[in-house]
């Protein structure tokens, strides 16, 4: 007795055939599953349709199925950029809803665009702000916020390292002066003293 649901059985068989042949037709699948009647065939077609909707399989052509397409994570900034270009004027809430991003992320991105002169912020006292596209370069401006942050971090690390070295140099200088004094004292010491 099988523990798999009917759709899981279809999926397992379909993936097995796809692994062998690259794709599978509904006729091949029906044959491989030993379906005898039209009713059974129809049930399988319904199952395939559900699997396609659930993105467990991809439909290559009519009646031909293939491996599920890999869901690539769309760059959120690219989605926000398209929304801004479509609407010309956006609020943070628009980006949160339509691009599915966090409000702080959307605000930071809009701030970067304001610095670049791509959008202008409008805000009435006590109201939520909106950002208007004033200069459309068509291609998305590169977001260098992260690069700037790394640059700042590197600068701080460099300053910290230089200050440690300066401190060490000062100490060495003090030691050097003390040693010079000691040397002078020893060399100027009279015999038998």
């Amino acid at each position: 007795m099988t523990l798999l649901s009917y759709n899981q059985q279809i999926l397992a068989k379909a993936l097995e055939l796809i692994a062998e042949r690259g794709e599978v037709t509904v006729t091949e699948l029906s044959h491989e599953m030993h379906l005898q009647t039209y009713k059974e065939h129809k049930r399988m077609l319904d199952g395939l349709s559900e699997l396609f909707k659930a993105k467990s399989l991809s439909r290559l052509r009519q009646g031909v199925y293939g491996r599920p397409q890999e869901q690539k994570q769309e760059d959120k900034r690219a989605v926000m950029w398209r929304i801004l270009r479509m609407r010309r004027r956006v609020a943070v809430d628009d980006l949160v809803e339509m691009a599915d991003v966090a409000p702080d992320y959307a605000k930071e991105w809009l701030r970067m665009l304001v610095q670049r002169g791509v959008v202008r912020k409008h805000q009435q006292p006590g109201m939520k702000g909106s950002w208007q596209l004033i200069n459309d370069p068509v291609d998305m401006p590169e977001d260098d916020t992260k690069a700037n942050r790394l640059r700042e971090l590197r600068k701080k690390k460099k300053e910290a390292a230089v200050s440690v070295i300066d401190g060490a140099l000062k100490q060495l200088q003090t030691i050097g002066e003390a040693l010079s004094k000691a040397r002078y004292a020893i060399t100027t010491m009279e015999e038998g003293e």
């Binding site: 052509r61 009519q62 769309e74 398209r82 929304i83 479509m86 609407r87 949160v96 809803e97 339509m98």
Partner: protein, 244 residues
Amino acid sequence: MGSTVKFKPTFVQTKNVRSFETLMQGLMIGKGGAGEGDERLGCIWGRAGRGKTRTVQTWAARNGCVYIETVSVWSELDFLQKLCQEFGLRQIPGRRGRCFDAIIEAMTMSNQPVFIDEIERFGQKFLEIIRDLVKITGGIIVLIGEEELPHLMKQNRRVWSRTYRAMEFEPVSPTDVGLYVSQCTGLHLSPPATEIMHRASGGDLRIVRRDTINLAHAATSLRRTGEVDAELAAIACKCGLKGD
């Protein structure tokens, strides 16, 4: 002390959104395959405030599609040049014929649908251009507009015969209202509260959104938790104008 109820903007899968996604799946199936038909045009229509544009823009932005919202002063050349720009052409031709050729080339290369909003304001003028683009490239173009759009397309037999489906964005249903409030605020509406909010909206999604924001404020200030009753829903709906 009751906790704060916040409104979180969320793209809610209403019935219209689900129907739109089904339409897009139907249009996309067979693109470039053996089962490809001639019906490469889609039509999305409905009254203002039903969420057509927002749904289409969200889908187009998430899938990297070309989307154009027409402007009333556009000439045919402006329209074609805008299409060229949205297809990412670096040098946009100054003549209609060359623009058209450039778009043909871009559409042939791309598998993504093109969305054109508020096309009905130009009458038949741009429909013929769109029909030619679809006929030559086999690409998918989805037109979005108000009630006049399907009538306009039906008047042009050659356009209508290439239309896969005309989908109406229907008024939001009570189920959609409940789903929207639940997903954006985490509050659950009682059946009478759903009925009040649905009636107040007149099927308009913008009014549902506004009343949901009011509801979150009212629930916070009155320190209400749990299921939203009719009284609270009435308070939220009275804060704004009513739909018809």
